[in-house]
């Protein structure tokens, strides 16, 4: 669940919320700091949350925000200079292109499946690549399918790494195994290679496993961020 909350006339915070926690992105120079607070507290006292965030923005210089994860509910900050700070931040920085964790997973699976498919097709066209001379390899890179496959696998690597930066390895691995299912289904419907009974059972098992894993909290590993130990949580 996502909610945008106006901080003042110029800026807003984005709040991601699940049952237990909500994560808050603050507008601020050089990236988005994220903090995690108990959802109940945030939702019961929205006004004091807003005031506390304003105060936190107030106190921050251009460096990093020093935030603790508890809301001092009674803290009432002043809002004088926040407006100018937020305005300057917004002027300097265009909105980042944020992708939800699920979007990154979809991107990863698609680029993996299509990348493997185009690369193997392309290399098949090129022929055998067992040589000590570099020419056959250079020649392979003239093939448009090979180039497309390599580009897709670069997309795959970047999305895999950014996914690992946010969520657990033990969450990423099972969830991205959907690519096996997609490969099998692509064989059935695009290449008209019939899917055997064993494969259908395998697809069912993968689906069952993934549906179990997505019901867990995506991130449980301790945060090892440079800026200290802010408790952080990945967006859903």
């Amino acid at each position: 669940m996502l909610q945008r909350m106006p901080l003042d006339r110029w800026s807003q915070v984005t709040i991601y919320r699940n049952r237990l926690f909500c994560s808050i992105d603050l507008p601020h120079e050089g990236g988005l700091p994220r903090l995690q607070i108990p959802a109940k507290a945030a939702w019961q006292h929205p006004e004091s949350l807003r005031k506390w965030l304003l105060m936190a923005c107030d106190q921050a210089d251009s460096g990093e925000l020093q935030l603790t994860h508890r809301i001092p509910a009674k803290t009432l900050g002043s809002r004088r200079s926040t407006a100018t700070l937020a305005a300057s931040v917004l002027k300097k920085q265009s909105q980042p292109l944020r992708l939800k964790t699920r979007t990154v997973i979809a991107l990863l699976v698609t680029s993996n499946v299509l990348g493997n498919f185009t690369l193997s097709r392309g290399l098949h066209e090129v022929g055998r690549l067992v040589s000590f001379s570099p020419w056959p390899y250079i020649h392979a890179f003239v093939n448009p399918l090979v180039v497309l496959g390599v580009l897709l696998l670069i997309v795959w690597l970047i999305s895999q790494l950014s996914l690992l930066s946010r969520v657990d390895l033990s969450y990423v691995l099972p969830v991205t195994s959907v690519s096996y299912v997609l490969t099998a289904l692509m064989g059935e419907f695009l290449l008209h290679e019939p899917v055997s009974t064993e494969r259908w059972i395998g697809i069912g098992l993968i689906g069952l496993g993934v549906s179990l894993v997505v019901r867990t909290l995506p991130r449980t590993a301790p945060m090892l961020h440079k800026s200290g130990d802010l408790p952080c949580e990945a967006a859903r």
């Binding site: 895999q160 033990s170 099972p174 096996y180 496993g209 449980t220």
Partner: protein, 122 residues
């Protein structure tokens, strides 16, 4: 030879995943996907030793898989990779300190079996 190649697929593959996770968790969460931000990310990853060794190990595992596939068929090559789901879940618990409840264990095992069946039942 076959077993050596299997070891060269599973061990570097597992090490690659664990090291990449450690490196990326140290690098901070990635949220910005604009081209410029991605270039900055790649530049910072090039100086990250964990990710560097991780990607290298990934390459070793990939080329070992290619070599194995050139001497045997898929039904010999993939069962080993299916086992790595459970192995990596265990490593995630003990090395990366992830909290792994019964849903994660059951999910990883089911996915491992599923991958096995999908790759064998061609």
């Amino acid at each position: 030879m076959k077993w050596l190649l299997i070891a060269l697929i599973v061990i570097p593959g597992t090490i690659a995943d664990v090291l990449n996770t450690m490196g990326m968790k140290r690098n901070g969460e990635v949220y910005d996907f604009r081209p410029r931000a991605i270039f900055r990310l790649v530049a910072s990853l090039a100086r990250n030793p964990y990710v560097g060794v991780g990607v290298l190990a990934m390459a070793v595992s990939f080329f070992a898989l290619m070599a194995l596939l050139s001497i045997t068929n898929l039904s010999f090559a993939v069962p080993a990779t299916a086992f790595s789901y459970v192995l990596e879940t265990a490593l995630a618990k003990y090395i990366l300190k992830e909290h792994i409840g019964w849903r994660r264990w059951a999910g990883a095992s089911l996915v491992g079996c599923g991958v096995l069946l999908v790759s064998l039942g061609v």
